[in-house]
């Protein structure tokens, strides 16, 4: 009997096209969109070659500055792309946004930019570094003269060599200890998994509605049948869960093989989180179906609206949203199932320890139990009078 119910519930689900769309196609479409939109974002944030112009104002040029800039325009990934212009042309280039700024080699140096920005800041930074290096040189020469109380031959040359030597002997070293997994666009795909888990709620909702006498003709027939309602609901939920898992397996396959998404290395923990996440989604759908006394469209609307809200807060429409909520209103994400799933994947990807992961698993279990308890409370002993 159990298998019979399960089989027919599966058949009913697969025949419902909109449901299949939500479970199978929609996450794949959205994943493709994410991948298209975010494919360049992290690359764009790397330092790129900055186009600038240099204006030589007098014939007596400051060759040191030009030499340094010439040095910075060479190499595999040069910092600057430099053109030498007169002031009028440089101005036109700046207006047309062909360059980020131009440097006038006057005394003192002048830097002209159109607006504030990171490229402009770097240009300013490099120019200042040149000025400051000159200053260092001047100061060290002055100190050397003071120290030896005389002018030696080739003083500048010897100071320059000394500076180079000190630079090489610099004992201060920056050691980068950041985690290698820093690709924050991964969060988008984790929210996608979370969304798919929660949209599974629509399956639960549909199946429960099939059993409610006030919702469907099927429900009326089931109500008067001699089958145990609990059994029917459990087999239906199982069928919903199976379909949901097929959908999410498809999504994982697609995102890993085609979109190259990194979910971390521990398959067991990924599967465990997905199983519990799907269960949380299903229990959410069952709760909405049983607690809200309204028509099916409105219930579906509630599941979708709730899921979108949860996904919004966990970073789907702006990656840093989850962090901002975690930082400012942490309680909101502690009760948000999408955030628990997203954070679970994030902790597997980013952290070496599993404490945070377990906390999310535990929270999801609590959430699911709570949803089911509410549903049971609403569904149990539901009888209809003969009228």
């Amino acid at each position: 009997m159990l298998f019979h119910n399960y089989k027919y519930a599966m058949k009913t689900l697969f025949k419902n096209k909109p449901l299949i769309f939500w479970t199978f196609a929609f996450p794949l479409i959205l994943g493709t969109l994410f991948s298209m939109a975010f494919s360049d974002i992290e690359k764009e944030e790397q330092l790129k070659t900055i186009p600038i112009a240099i204006v030589k104002e007098t014939s007596n040029q400051n060759s040191m500055i030009i030499n340094i800039f010439e040095h910075l325009k060479t190499g595999e990934e040069p910092m600057f792309q430099i053109s030498y212009e007169d002031e009028k042309d440089a101005k036109t280039l700046l207006e047309n946004k062909k360059i980020d700024g131009y440097l006038i080699l006057s005394e003192p140096l002048k830097l002209i930019v159109k607006e504030n920005g990171i490229n402009q800041t770097i240009l300013k930074f490099v120019t200042e570094e040149i000025i400051q290096t000159e200053e260092v040189m001047r100061n060290v020469v002055a100190l050397e003269i003071e120290d030896k109380n005389m002018l030696t031959e080739n003083l500048y040359q010897s100071v320059y060599l000394k500076l180079e030597k000190w630079k090489e002997e610099n004992q201060i070293e920056l050691v980068n200890i950041s985690n290698k997994n820093l690709s924050y666009t991964m969060i988008e795909f984790y929210t996608l998994i979370a969304m798919t888990c929660l949209y599974g709620g629509i399956l639960g909702l549909y199946l429960i509605n099939q059993n409610l006498a006030n919702q469907s003709a099927n429900g009326k027939r089931i109500s008067v049948s001699p089958t145990l309602k609990g059994k029917v609901i459990i087999t239906n939920a199982l069928a919903g869960y199976t379909v949901q898992l097929i959908g999410i397996a498809l999504l994982f396959f697609y995102t890993i093989c085609f979109l190259k998404i990194d979910y971390g290395e521990n398959i067991f923990f990924i599967v465990l989180l997905t199983l519990i996440g799907c269960f949380a989604g299903l229990s959410l759908g069952i709760m909405i179906a049983s607690v809200f006394k309204t028509n099916e469209n409105t219930k579906t609307g509630i599941v979708i609206a709730f899921t979108m809200l949860c996904c919004f807060l966990s970073g789907m429409m702006g990656i840093t949203m989850k962090y901002m909520v975690d930082k400012n209103i942490p309680i909101l994400n502690q009760i948000n199932p999408a955030s628990m799933i997203t954070d679970g994947f994030y902790s597997l990807y980013y952290y070496d320890t599993l404490d945070r992961y377990y906390f999310n698993i535990f929270s999801l279990c609590i959430f699911s139990i709570l949803m089911l308890a509410l549903s049971i409370r609403s569904l149990r002993r539901q009888t209809y009078d003969s009228i």
């Binding site: 419902n16 096209k17 909109p18 769309f21 939500w22 929609f26 959205l30 969109l33 298209m36 939109a37 494919s39 360049d40 974002i41 992290e42 764009e44 944030e45 700046l94 207006e95 003192p108 002048k110 830097l111 002209i112 159109k114 607006e115 504030n116 990171i118 800041t121 930074f125 120019t127 000025i131 400051q132 200053e135 100061n139 060290v140 100190l143 050397e144 000190w166 610099n170 004992q171 201060i172 070293e173 920056l174 200890i177 950041s178 985690n179 820093l182 309204t294 469209n297 579906t300 609307g301 979708i304 609206a305 809200l309 919004f312 429409m317 702006g318 990656i319 840093t320 962090y323 980013y350």
Partner: protein, 380 residues
């Protein structure tokens, strides 16, 4: 009027769903903007840096911290490694500097000193690293020639204070309009999702088999019926649009009353018309209410991701932008960006803006024509 009255009745019957969607979408728009500061601020001049000082605050350490503070935005997070790691991952900070114990003595004595850092690897982090390296390079050179601590620090500071004369030619305050543009770019999603979902829902009620047959046998012409339906829906769309405009005035303030602000409002109005007609077309194409939710999400989220509502267009790959040209959202968002960079208002500068508005209206017109063709065919 019959269509309009019926429309109001259906709206009233489904008020819970309508209000739920509208409120959530308005909340998205408002909440997203409140978090703007760290969200999409890709053009900040100062990198966000976090300093973890494991050292006693002596003069040498203090001087280094003061230098970093002056040139960066110092962030504070909870004093746990997890909070720091989270901040780094979500780009709340670009660079973390761990000042080691015994920093002062190792530095003054020229001993080997490892300063641990964490970096996001983006351009802001590169800038922060350049700042740190510059300080250490200058400090190291002076340490070789100056033995007195106070003189040494003074010399470092005087040198590092040398600045270049910089002139900014643009008079436009980009920051001022950044918030307004962000709000209106995000409104692409909210307006589109709100219009398409609610309007499709309403239209599909008129397309139920029994109702549809009754309308078909009535004397009303299909064009007139469509016109009345468009009018009824436009009332809803205008209310939705007004909600966003009011919200933008509350959140952004005076900027909305400048010329640029007015252009943003006008642009969003024209986009709402285009969204409204698109919604009517979809409502006429798809009658299954369950399928509708999926289509709404694909259209609203799809256009928003592809056209730059969530990710600024400069970060989108070229091929995505090319595809986006076939969507009304592209012209709306492109217009918002143009308006934000509008320095002076003259025929030359506003021409591309009006051209985009024209394209949006053309989209709207095409959607109406297509709706009429479909209704005519289906009524046969």
């Amino acid at each position: 009027m019959t269509v309009f009255k019926a429309y109001l009745k259906i709206l009233n019957k489904n008020k819970f769903l309508v209000i739920l969607y509208t409120v959530i979408l308005i909340f998205f728009a408002g909440f997203n903007m409140q978090n703007n500061d760290t969200g999409t601020s890709f053009m900040a001049e100062k990198p966000d840096v976090l300093i973890v000082n494991e050292n006693e605050t002596d003069n040498v350490t203090k001087n280094f911290i003061q230098y970093i503070e002056k040139h960066t935005t110092i962030k504070e997070v909870q004093e746990t490694e997890e909070a720091r790691n989270d901040a780094l991952f979500y780009r709340d900070v670009n660079y973390i500097i761990y000042i080691p114990k015994d920093f002062k003595n190792s530095f003054l004595e020229g001993k080997k000193l490892n300063v641990e850092i964490k970096s996001t690897g983006d351009y802001q982090a590169s800038l922060a690293e350049m700042l740190v390296n510059r300080y250490f390079n200058v400090a190291n050179i002076y340490r070789n020639v100056i033995k007195d601590e106070e003189t040494l620090l003074e010399m470092i500071n005087t040198t590092l204070e040398k600045e270049v004369f910089i002139e900014v030619t643009s008079k436009l305050d980009i920051e001022k309009f950044a918030k307004a543009t962000l709000f209106y770019n995000f409104a692409n999603y909210s307006i589109l999702a709100g219009c398409v979902f609610i309007i499709c829902f309403m239209v599909s009620s008129f397309k139920e088999q029994k109702v549809k047959l009754r309308i078909m046998v009535s004397s009303i012409e299909y064009k007139k019926f469509n016109r009345q339906l468009l009018f009824s829906n436009s009332l809803f769309a205008i209310v939705l649009w007004l909600c966003y405009v009011i919200l933008s005035i509350i959140l952004v303030g005076d900027v909305m009353f400048t010329n640029q602000g007015m252009f943003l409002i006008l642009n969003s109005f024209i986009f709402t018309i285009s969204a409204l007609t698109l919604a009517l077309l979809i409502g006429n194409l798809v009658h299954n209410k369950e399928a509708m939710s999926g289509i709404v999400n694909v259209i609203a989220l799809g256009s928003s991701f592809l056209c730059g509502a969530f990710v600024p267009t400069e970060f989108l790959p070229d091929f995505v932008l090319k595809i986006a040209h076939v969507l009304p959202s592209y012209y709306y968002i492109h217009n918002n960006d143009l308006i934000a960079s509008l320095e002076t208002i003259n025929l030359e500068t506003v021409k591309p803006i009006f051209l985009n508005m024209g394209i949006l209206l053309f989209f709207g017109f095409m959607f109406v024509v297509m709706t009429n063709i479909i209704t005519k065919k289906r009524n046969r």
